[in-house]
């Protein structure tokens, strides 16, 4: 079982860790310069656009052309395979120690610092019934969903976030409100609470709360924070209906949340963020770049990811004008794309929005 200093769940066998180590390296290989799929396929798409005298900037011709190439189809096969391998190995490894992991969660539920607030009668809206990123059971149907997510995202970030370095860095980039007052912080859809605790360390005097719909995620979040000694609150609530008072928070935060929401819920959540963030307070969002700023290959990858990697709402998010949605709800927006790999990859953008 885990030592008190490392909340990363321990795998059942050393061989499982080696296997996932391979998947992490293989993922780096096929997404990066190893197999060099992205640059070669993007060049092929650009050349095809030249040949047709029409840029490849719409998904239908991009998809048709890329799937006519054996290299494109093989790339899809391998992208899907590494994700399936990751979950196959992780689920088997955690399932093999299910009783021990269940006991581990029970042991931490009531321990502090910090507190866990679960709602026994919590109703999950149907839009959440997705196995995001092909995670078996999605984010809430397996009692071990939080452990699966923690190790799964370790592999996803390819070594850049083994000790929450990415969350620490991105939280560190969030500006304070202009008046400097930071007494309460809300982390929307906090999952296992890596941003939540990063905020607590940055603002030790502040009251920091992470909310999520998933009880298994929140239990792992609480265990992790308690192990690390961070006094934060994790509560089971919907981000589109938080039940906090008006103007309650100085900073409201959402890390790669909105692309997992239907547009209806995105708008409800922005409206809710506008309600609970005080005037002059900050709403900080990290999420995917918009379709309009994508290369032809990135267009293709977004489409593939949406349909083949459990991201059913991501396309509508990328196609939307999130700046405009924020502005409609009373936020003054500053946004710019993150440099490639500066924030984990070249696919993210931030919106630092001030509540008018």
């Amino acid at each position: 079982m885990n030592t008190i200093t490392d909340p990363m769940p321990t795998l059942d066998r050393r061989a499982d860790a080696s296997y996932l180590d391979f998947v992490e390296g293989f993922r780096e290989y096929i997404l990066g310069k190893g197999a060099d799929f992205e640059d070669r396929l993007n060049a092929a798409l650009l050349a095809e656009g030249e040949r047709r005298g029409k840029p490849m900037d719409e998904i239908a011709p991009v998809r048709d052309y890329l799937r006519s190439l054996p290299l494109g189809r093989l790339r899809d096969r391998l992208a899907r395979t590494q994700q399936e391998m990751k979950w196959y190995a992780l689920w088997r490894s955690f399932d093999g120690q299910r009783d021990a992991l269940r006991a581990e969660l029970e042991r931490w539920d009531a321990r502090g610092p910090g507190r866990l607030q679960l709602e026994p009668d919590f109703v999950l809206p149907p839009y959440l019934n997705v196995h995001f990123h092909l995670q078996p059971g999605g984010y809430y149907k397996d009692e071990l969903s939080g452990f699966l997510y923690h190790y799964g995202t370790k592999v996803f970030f390819r070594g850049d976030n083994d000790r929450d370095e990415l969350h620490d860095k991105l939280v560190g980039l969030v500006p304070a409100p202009a008046d400097g007052k930071v007494a309460r912080i809300l982390d929307l859809a906090c999952s296992i609470g890596q941003s939540t605790t990063a905020f607590k360390r940055r603002y030790p005097q502040a009251e920091v709360t992470g909310i999520d719909y998933s009880a298994p995620m929140l239990r792992v979040a609480h265990r992790r924070a308690a192990m690390l000694g961070d006094d934060v609150t994790f509560a089971q609530r919907l981000i589109e209906e938080t039940r906090f008072p008006d103007a309650h928070f100085d900073i409201t935060f959402a890390f790669i949340v909105f692309h997992e929401l239907p547009q209806r819920i995105t708008r409800e959540t922005v409206r809710e963020a506008a309600r609970v963030t005080r005037p002059g307070g900050l709403f900080a969002v990290y999420d995917f770049n918009e379709t309009k700023s994508m290369s032809p290959f990135q267009l293709y990858h977004r489409d593939f990811d949406a349909a083949h990697n459990g991201e059913p709402y991501s396309q509508e998010f990328c196609d939307s004008d999130f700046d405009a949605i924020l502005a409609e709800h009373g936020f003054r927006v500053a946004a710019q794309p993150l440099a490639k790999r500066a924030g984990g990859a070249g696919y993210m953008k931030h919106w630092f929005a001030t509540r008018a």
């Binding site: 080696s18 391979f22 390296g25 391998l78 899907r80 839009y127 019934n129 239907p262 209806r264």
Partner: protein
């Protein structure tokens, strides 16, 4: 062996792009897809073994205990042989489970 991809496959996302099911075919036919998956799986298994062997050799060498000749002449006892067979079955399942995914239907 339960297949986690098959668990909880029912889902009802509202709107968005329809999700590919648990077993998409990307190449010309399911046999090619399974072949690629088996190759990647084999590479993973080879790495798992190599990582373990290098770990073992490092530990043994550090303790002055490694005798390469003893590896060549090793004969497992009955319990060890049974354990090795179970490991072998697990290994074969990992690599060749793809074969079960190929449907018994004509064409691709």
């Amino acid at each position: 062996m339960p297949d986690p991809q098959q668990r909880f496959s029912g889902q009802t996302p509202e709107g968005g792009v329809p999700l590919a099911g648990p077993d998409p075919v990307y190449l010309e036919n399911p046999v090619l897809d399974a072949t690629v998956r088996m190759v990647v799986e084999l590479a993973a298994q080879v790495w798992v073994e190599r990582e373990r062997r290098l770990t073992l050799e490092s530990l043994l060498a550090a303790r002055g205990l490694l005798d390469l000749g003893a590896i060549e002449s090793f004969k497992p006892d009955a319990a060890q042989a049974t354990a090795l067979k179970a490991e072998r079955a697990r290994f074969i399942e990992d690599v060749f489970k793809e074969l079960r995914r190929i449907p018994a239907t004509p064409g691709a």
